[in-house]
Every structure is written in C-alpha cells, then in structure tokens.
C-alpha cells in the first residue's frame, strides 16, 4: 500500500487516494509517425525491475497529475515531482543515484 506525496497539494496520499497512470515521460506520436514509433508510444512500455518513472493522479484529492520515481522491486520511493516536465529533474536523479548508483532508465541516468 504505497504512500506518495503529491507535489501539487503536499499531501502524503495513500494509494486509495491515487490513480496510477503508467510510464512517465512518454513522447506522444501522432499522425506522421511511423508504425514503429506509434507502437513504441502505445505498447512498448518500460517494465524494469528496479528504478522506474511513472505518472500518478491525485484523484481523490487535488485531482492533479504528478510524476513519481520508484523502485519496482523494493517499492522505495525516490521522490515525486511535477507532471509538467519532459524528464526527471536533477534533484530526483541525485536521490536515485545516492540509493542506486549507476542506475539507467531509457536515456536517463
């Protein structure tokens, strides 16, 4: 039963107040994209055993979306941050590096 702190309203919300939204920092591929890119966008999700970035919505709360950096094997939470970002901010990356030196996720490290 996860607890994630919503960066929008500051509440340490428990899982039942939140809705999971899948992989974070997806690049939307619309018309003009190749079949491969479109498949990548919709289906080829990151599924790591370890550091993962994902989207959550504080649905039973302020209603806002946010990002979380989490370990899928230990459920350790490295931090939460704004949904209005295209990549994890440095302080989150540093927090991860402190706990998981040498981590990689997609092109991020």
């Amino acid at each position: 039963m996860l607890i994630l702190t919503c960066p929008n309203c500051g509440i340490a919300a428990e899982e039942t107040e939140l809705s999971p939204g899948g992989e974070a920092h997806l690049h939307r591929h619309g018309p003009g994209s190749s079949d491969g890119e479109f498949e990548e966008y919709l289906f080829l999700k990151e599924n790591p055993r370890g550091v993962h970035f994902e989207r959550w919505r504080h649905s039973h709360g302020c209603g806002k979306w946010f990002h979380a950096a989490r370990d899928t094997a230990t459920l350790q939470v490295f931090g939460t941050y704004s949904a209005q970002t295209t990549e994890p901010p440095q302080h989150i990356r540093d927090a991860i590096t402190a706990a998981r030196p040498g981590w990689r996720w997609r092109d991020f490290s």
């Binding site: 039963m1 996860l2 607890i3 428990e14 939204g21 939307r28 591929h29 619309g30 018309p31 003009g32 994209s33 079949d35 479109f38 966008y41 919709l42 989207r55 919505r57 649905s59 209603g63 806002k64 979306w65 370990d71 230990t74 459920l75 350790q76 939470v77 949904a83 209005q84 706990a99």
Partner: protein, 997 residues
C-alpha cells in the same frame, strides 16, 4: 482426566459462574476462562477431530497457535466455524459444538480413515483415483470434499456490524507482554504517537505466568503499573483483543480488534479493522513453544509444557493427577515445579539432554522430582486420552526401558520467535544454532518507502528469551523507533537457563513404524514419515514439501509445525536447516473475519448509488431501475398489470404519438473554457468543434489514442471561449479525467480550464410531436423552430425556471433537452408533467430511449461500440474531420488493420418473418477456420422489437456490409439459424421530417 483445582487461577473470578454448552451438554466456568480452560475444568479433554484421519484431539496449546481444539460457535446469524477454543472467552449462553465428526465426538465414522492411515500417506491422492476418468468428479472427489473441511458452513446472513478505522501513528507496537510494555513506555515518553496492541484480553504475556521479577517487583505488579502509566499518556493508545494481523508496504499495518466476541451482549459493533499507517513498527509478539516429535504426541492429554503451565497458573486447571514432562531445555522444568507446587504428581521429567544441571533442573531435583536425562518418550499410550508413556534412551531406536503410568504429558522442544510481522514485507531470517530457531537478521529488514528498515523485532520475537534481555532489547527498539533516547531499561530477573539441545526426532533412531506416529502438523495429520516421503520423492524444496504434504497449511498456518517439519526435511536431505530455508509468512498472523475486511461497506453502504433529483419521483411511479455506471436510471415505468415489455412499448408509442418526458440528468456535462479551448476540443473530438458558432450544437465523437470510439455527445458553444461538452452517462468522469490528463501532462502550455458540471444541472428531455406545445404552455421562451431551430440552444426562463434549452434529438422526434439547476430540477419536472398532461405526456425510461434511437439508426456507445470499433466502422466518416492534421485517435486509425477493406461495418438487419434477432448473434460464413471454428462475417450489435414498426429491427457489423445491401445472412448455428436481410440502419423517418414537429 483434567479438573479445576480448589485454589489459584490468577485470571478467573471464582465468585461468579458462567454457563455454556458444548455438544449440547451444559458446562460451567468462571469469568476469565477461555472455552478450552472451562472445558478442561469440566473434564472434557477431547475437543475435536483431526482433518484427515479424524483422530480424537484435545487442546495442545493455550493460544492462537492451537491446531486441534476448533469448534462451531454460536447460532443462526452469529454462527461461525473453526473458532479456537483456546482464544474464545466464555460468556453466559455461549453455544459450542465439536467439528469434523459424525455422528458424535466420541463415535466418529470418519475415524475409519485412521485404520487405513498407512495407505493414505502424503500426496496419496496424486497417485490414485486416476482411473476411471469420470470417477474423480463423481465418486472420489465428493467423498474427499465431504470428509475434508472442518466446521459447518454458515447459512444465515451475518447479524453483526463491523467498521474500519484509519489511524496514523509514529510507532505501532504489536504485543502487550513485558517487552511490548517496556517499549511502549519508552516510546511514549518520547511524545511520539504510539499504538500498543495485544491480541489477548490480558497484559503481561509469559512473564506474569512464569513469575519473573522486574525492577524488583513481581512481574504482575510491574505490568499493572506500566499499563496505568501508559493509560495516563495522551499520546499512547492501548488496545487489548487487538491482533496485529499483517504488515504491508510503506508502514501499513492492519490490526483486528474484537469488541463483543467475549460478551454475552452482542448488541454493539462486533469487530473493528484498524488500518494503521505507522512510521516504525515494533514486533513484540513473543515466541511460541514447539512440540517434540515422538510417537503418539497427538493423544489428548499431551500438551505443550508452557500451555499446561498457563492453564494451571491462569485458570487453576489440573491436566491430571500424574503428568510426565518431556523436554530438551530448562524452561519445561517450570511446568514441573508449578505442577508440583500445586500438589500434583510429576512422576518424571524425561530430559533428552545427557546433562541437565541448570538452576531449574536443580530446583526440580531439590523438590524431589525424578529427573531422567538422556531419556525419551518412545510412545504415548492411550487413544482418546493418555494412560502412560513408554520410556527409552533418546539416542536409542525405541526399545522400551520402562513404562510410566500418567494421564498427561507436557512437552517442550524449545521456542520459536514469532517473526511473522517481520517477514510479511520481506524481512529475512538467520538460523540461531544455540537456540535452534530462526530469528530476524538485523542486516536484512523489510524496507520502507525511504529504503530503510521499518520493522524491528524485540524481546522473545528477536530471540531474547530471558526477561531481562528481552526488556533491554525492547527499550533499544523504542529508541530506534522514536529516534529519541529511551532512557534506562527496567531490570528483569528470572531463573538462569542452561543450553537447549535440538531434538527433531524422539528417540533419535526411531524406526519407520514410530515415525509414522509422530505428528508434525496436528490438524492436517502430517507426520514425520510424510515429510521424509516427500523428500524421498524429490519434493525437496521446502515449498514443495509443504504443498505435497500440506504441512503448515492448516488453520494454525504451521505455528507449531513449520520448524519441526523443516528440521525433519533437512535431516532427510542431509542439508543444514538454513540451506533448506523456510517458507514465506503471509498475512494474516491469525485468521480474521471477511466481515471485518468488508467493514461498514454492507447493505445500504455497500457501494455508492448515484441518484438524480427526480429519483424519488421515479420510485413513487414504481419505476424499474437499471444501473448505469454508479447511477441508477429508470429502465421503464410499468403500470399495474403491465409487464416491463408492455410498458416499454407503451412509452415508445406514446412518445412518438404524443409526448414523452425523460430524466436525462445523468448525461455528462463538461465546461471547457479558455483562449486555447477551441484548439483543445478539436483535439478531443474527431470532428471540427472550433468553428462551431455560438448558440449552435454539434454531435461529436471521442476516440482514444488507439482510434477506438469511446464516447459521444452533443457539444454546444456557449461563448467565444467556452464550450459545453455533453458525454454519455457512464462516461462523464472518464472524459473529464481524460481532458485534464491531456491538459496537465501533454499540453500544459495551453490555456484551458475544464469543470465537470454534470451534477450542477438537472436535464429533462421533452420529446414527441406535442413537445413544443408543452413548452409553449409553460411559457417564458420562444421555442418556435424559427427562433430555436434544430441543433441550436437558447438560454432563458421557462415557467420561471432558469434554463438552457437544447434542440437536439436522440429519438428522431421533435425534442427539447432542458437543463435547469439541479436544485430546481424536480420543480420544473413537476411543472412540465402538469403542463404536459393535456397533451398525453408520459415518462419513458432507458429501454424506450434505446429502442427509439435504434429505430432511427443512431448508434449507442457500449452497444455498437465495444472498444474495438472505430467511427469509420459505423459509417460516421461525416463526423471525422479531414481538415484537422491531428486529433486523439487519428494516428491509430491509420494502422494496417484499421484501414482493412474487410472490416465489419454498420448496417441494419431485418429478419424475413419480422422476428427479433437473438442478442449478440453472429452471421456465419461458409466453412471452418484452421482451428475448426465456424467462420463468421458479422454480428448483431443491437436488436429490439420495434413497437413503432411492429417488427424486429437490428443493427449489426457486417464484413463490407454497406456494399451488400439486400443480401441475406444466416445468424447463429445448429438446427435453426435465423435469416436476415442487410438493410439501411435507419428504420424510421428516413427523411428526418419528424424532428421539427
């Protein structure tokens, strides 16, 4: 035969009597008795029958770990099976019944199983009942099912109430023994929020029974003072009869509290499930004593030494005049001494160890008790109760040196820390050679959200079996949990104890005949020989052995049997115990009711039910409701003597002939506003919405990124920068969430605000040829087709109500949808009904709505769509903008399979004889596919009897359907397939003349 002694019993109140029945026989006990202690007091040693062999069994333990003494408790709405007699406190009028026996506890037919025991070894059923095939289901399995199971199945609905309670604390402490109390005192002084829970009804745990001393006081007095001190701390919450059931990730702890199970008065709340969020968790759950594996260790009268002591000290229970003690450690001598001091006879202490010269053995000898070292119980004599033991050398093979007559046996194989809460979230264990048990590995705790350990075991649950060590460990644990200095630990003193000697088989060299009578898992009848068989057959992993033999899978979840079984397995595999490993502990620590898990979500609060402002009116009209999402909507309004089928037909005909009224309030209504709102709605809908003129309405389609149609509805432009999007009733919340998701996570630089105003507005459909007359009679607005043409909307006052009127039609008839602030919706509804009376107005429900839209060839989300259908399949290309270079779903619709010319497309279907096509029927095509399935070329998506046309009508998706008008298709298979013709999906008013009235 057991009985109650004239003196003693620290928990019982002899001044009062409590009367209850067991198997119909009346017993008497005292307040403070458990069902087990009261039955023992009444000489009832046999309390149940085992699962597989139906052997007679008595209580072997004192608490939650009891595998044998399980009963059916209570009656009717308060009947429950499998209740532990050892934890159920008695109250006046308690009714209990023994289980798993027929016709009676003493004469159980099922006991024949035990005659064949040697032919029913572990996993026997995997090896037999294979032939003939049908026999398993019809013969063998029914027999096994009947003889398995334990208690009776309840029949009645639960008469009790349950609730949840969410608590957020800094520290949860599980266990109210002296370690838990010491930890709570230290943690409490730090000022942190502390919750201390104890599963039994009493504080103090073992120390008060074993007569330890703390800070120079009797343990009992120290405990009383500690509880008083804790009670006085505002930041500390204390609970008895509250069991810490499980530890979940991120400090989530479930605590099961029993409020009335021990009372005769059941009027109050029965149980409460605490859903606790804790920063740190201290597990002070103590340790459990292990049985010894000797032949006949399951005969009623054989008991754990500590349990016998508990019954004696707490309830003044004599297990019998003569009790033999058998042990591999010093602690069991406490039982010998207690029995001796109570004036009972201890013919001998049989100690497997070569030497026993610790303080306790010496005290026993000094008391004149015969202590035999290097000795073992070879076999217990007696069947339904102990009559004696055969004694031999522990290092021998079981030759009998002597027989000792006795009526009880107290056994102790050492102690195992209760590490469940530590293990639930992955805490690892180390094997402690000296004490022969698993204890928490402080280096590998369960990790919390911050990546650090969030559970710590203290006291006996951390392997500190001595009072002094345990308390010191607990206080250190409190310091860890609070991050504050915990101060000096109270000093605990108890007798010095010599080393234990691991004994997994007694006697050591016991042959196969004896091993087949040594029980490991009492309830499931798993014996030493079974575990050895599993190992021999290659079920070497401890999980394999457990599952193959069912060891540890009984209602005690292996509390008594896991370690002994594991040791036997490691012996059979010639591997060290830690190499063999241990099985995973899963919540709950002790089973608790499903009712408590459901909590208050029962009956009227089971699930939310969304109601419109007109709901009470619908009820008064005797409407049949149907659930739509969480809403309920009138399905139809049958009148007296009318079937629902009749009333649906009547509602349709009347609406088409006169005028109908529909409660459309559940329709989703979302406001989209801002400089970029037009651009945004263009992305959300397949068609162009930005160029919609203010005052106009347009039907729109919403797809997901896959391109599949997910919602539809009418969009109205309210002002330059504001659109009102109507969605399906079930879809409003999803659509709004989708919009917010795109705005917050993809186009956050766009200036758009949305608001879901679905519930702000009641919405009333006035539909039919007389609709305009009704509105004109209500007055206040010009609703003529000139001022308010089709697909326009207007704002104004209708009969004094502030409204928005939308000229839209889902039935093909002249139709006004009137939005009014929800608070005034019922008022307007009544006004419309009054005005409509003279024009033959009648309400209609969702089924009439569905039929009328089908007659008109309009699609319905969820009928024509199912998550795999794109708008192009439904001939809705006109609603898909060619001009826009992007919208949600556009790319998805360009994929290979989506542009396949062979996709099934929407058509109308008409049976030759006018009958109604079967729901969901498929149109067959010639031949079978490669998997031998009949080929198909289409399917029915909606099918109804049309009262308007007096025949069956249907819509369906058919391969190249629109190109095959007039073709006949065969639906369904088997004897009589139904033939139907492909026709235009618009069955009624093709010209569209009706919508203007």
């Amino acid at each position: 035969m057991s009985t109650r002694l004239a003196q003693g019993g620290r928990l019982i109140d002899r001044s009062r009597q409590v009367s209850f029945t067991f198997d119909g026989k009346t017993f008497r006990g005292h307040p403070g008795d458990t069902l087990a202690s009261a039955l023992l007091a009444g000489g009832q040693v046999v309390m149940g029958r085992s699962f597989k062999y139906h052997r007679p069994r008595g209580a072997v333990a004192y608490g939650v770990e009891e595998p044998n003494a399980l009963v059916n408790l209570g009656e009717e709405g308060r009947f429950e099976p499998d209740t532990r007699a050892t934890t159920q406190e008695i109250f006046d009028g308690l009714v209990a019944e023994s289980q798993n026996r027929w016709p009676s506890l003493d004469w159980d037919i099922g006991a024949v199983n035990s005659l064949f025991a040697r032919f029913l070894p572990a996993g026997f059923y995997y090896k037999m009942f294979i032939h003939p095939r049908a026999a398993w289901k019809h013969l063998f399995e029914p027999f096994i099912r009947r003889s398995a199971g334990l208690g009776r199945a309840p029949r009645a609905r639960d008469a009790d109430r349950y609730e949840h309670f969410y608590a957020h604390v800094d520290v949860v402490i599980a266990g109210g023994g002296v370690a838990g109390l010491a930890a709570a005192l230290a943690a409490g002084r730090s000022g942190k929020r502390v919750l201390l829970v104890e599963q039994s009804g009493h504080w103090g745990g073992r120390a008060v029974v074993d007569g330890a001393r703390i800070d120079g006081k009797e343990a009992a007095d120290w405990v009383a003072d500690a509880v008083a001190a804790l009670d006085a701390m505002p930041n500390v919450t204390l609970r008895t009869r509250a069991m810490a059931a499980g530890v979940y990730d991120h400090g989530y702890v479930l605590v099961h509290e029993r409020l009335t199970d021990h009372l005769a008065d059941k009027s109050g709340l029965r149980q409460r499930l605490w859903r606790v969020r804790a920063g740190r968790i201290i597990n002070a759950a103590g340790a459990l004593e292990r049985p010894l594996s000797f032949a006949g260790n399951d005969v009623p009268g054989v008991m754990l030494a500590s349990a016998m002591r508990d019954y004696l000290v707490n309830h003044a229970i004599s297990p019998g005049d003569r009790t033999v003690i058998v042990t591999n450690n010093d602690d069991a001598y406490r039982t010998a001494l207690a029995l001796h001091e109570a004036g009972l006879i201890v013919p001998a202490v049989l100690d497997a160890r070569p030497v026993a010269d610790g303080e306790l053995p010496e005290r026993a000898r000094a008391a004149g008790i015969r202590v035999e070292t290097g000795r073992a119980v070879v076999r217990v004599k007696g069947r339904s109760h102990v009559t004696g033991v055969e004694v031999g050398l522990h290092v021998g093979e079981g030759s009998v040196l002597e027989e000792i007559a006795c009526d009880a046996v107290a056994m102790s194989g050492g102690w195992s820390p209760v590490v469940h809460l530590w293990s639930h979230c992955g805490g690892k264990l180390n094997w402690d050679e000296a004490q022969a048990h698993f204890r928490p590995d402080p280096e590998r705790p369960p990790l919390g959200a911050d990546g650090t350990g969030f559970v710590r075991c203290v006291g006996a649950s951390n392997g500190h079996l001595r009072t002094g060590d345990g308390i010191a460990d607990a206080v250190a644990g409190a310091a860890w949990a609070t991050g504050a200095d915990a101060g000096k630990a109270p000093a605990g003193e108890d007798a010095d104890e010599g080393a234990l000697m691991p004994v997994w088989l007694m006697p050591q060299g016991a042959g196969v005949k004896l091993r087949a009578k040594m029980w490991l898992d009492y309830q499931n009848d798993v014996k030493v020989s079974d575990v050895q068989l599993a190992a021999r057959e290659g079920y070497e992993s401890v999980e394999h052995t457990k599952r193959y033999t069912t060891l540890g899978m009984a209602t005690d979840q292996g509390k008594l049997s896991n370690i002994n079984g594991l040791a036997v397995l490691s012996g059979a595999l010639n591997a060290a115990i830690p190499q063999v490993g241990t099985t995973t502990f899963r919540p709950p620590y002790v089973p608790y009711t499903l009712g408590a898990i459901a909590g208050s979500a029962a009956r009227e609060t089971f699930m939310p039910l969304r109601k419109t402002q007109m709901d009470s009116w619908h009820v008064e009209q005797g409407a049949e409701f149907e659930p739509v999402g969480l809403w309920r909507r009138p399905y139809s309004y049958p009148r007296l003597g009318e079937t629902v089928k009749d009333s649906v037909a009547r509602e349709i005909l009347n609406t088409r002939k006169n005028v109908g009224i529909l409660d459309a309030s559940t329709l989703g209504k979302i406001i989209v506003k801002g400089p970029d709102a037009g651009r945004f709605v263009d992305m959300m809908y397949t068609n162009m919405m930005s160029n919609l003129a203010v005052g106009r309405c347009r039907y729109g389609l919403m797809c997901n990124e896959q391109g599949f149609l997910v919602d539809d509805g009418v969009v109205a432009r309210l002002s330059e920068d504001t659109w009102l999007c109507h969605t399906t009733s079930g879809g409003a919340d999803n659509v709004h969430a989708q919009m917010e998701e795109w705005l917050q996570t993809e186009w956050w630089d766009w200036q758009v605000y949305t608001a879901n105003v679905t519930e702000q507005w009641g919405q009333i459909g006035v539909v039919g040829p007389n609709a305009r007359k009704v509105l004109e009679k209500l007055g206040g607005m010009d609703v003529s087709k000139e001022t308010l043409p089709f697909m326009h909307w207007a704002e104004g006052e209708l009969a004094g109500f502030p409204v928005r009127i939308f000229r839209i039609s889902f039935s093909g008839e002249l139709s006004y949808e009137i939005a009014v602030p929800a608070g005034q919706a019922r008022g307007l509804w009544d006004a419309i009904l009054a005005a409509g009376a003279e024009f033959g107005m009648q309400p209609y429900g969702t089924e009439a709505l569905h039929v009328m839209r089908a007659e008109k060839g309009f699609i319905m989300i969820g009928d024509e769509t199912d998550g795999t259908v794109i708008p192009q399949d439904l001939g809705l290309n006109w609603a898909i903008s060619k001009k826009k270079d992007d919208f949600i779903g556009k790319r998805g619709q360009q994929r290979e399979h989506m542009v396949d010319p062979l996709r099934w497309k929407l058509v109308g279907l008409e049976t030759e004889d006018g009958s109604v096509l079967p729901e969901g029927a498929y149109a067959v095509a010639p031949g079978d596919n490669a998997n031998g399935q009949r080929n198909v070329q289409g399917r029915v998506t909606s099918t109804y009897h049309s009262p308007t046309l007096g025949r069956g009508i249907a819509m369906g998706l058919v391969e190249r359907g629109p190109d095959r008008m007039g073709e006949m298709l065969e639906f369904g298979a088997g004897a009589d397939p139904v033939r139907a013709k492909i026709v235009d999906p618009v069955f009624y008013d093709k010209a569209g003349e009706k919508q203007d009235g």
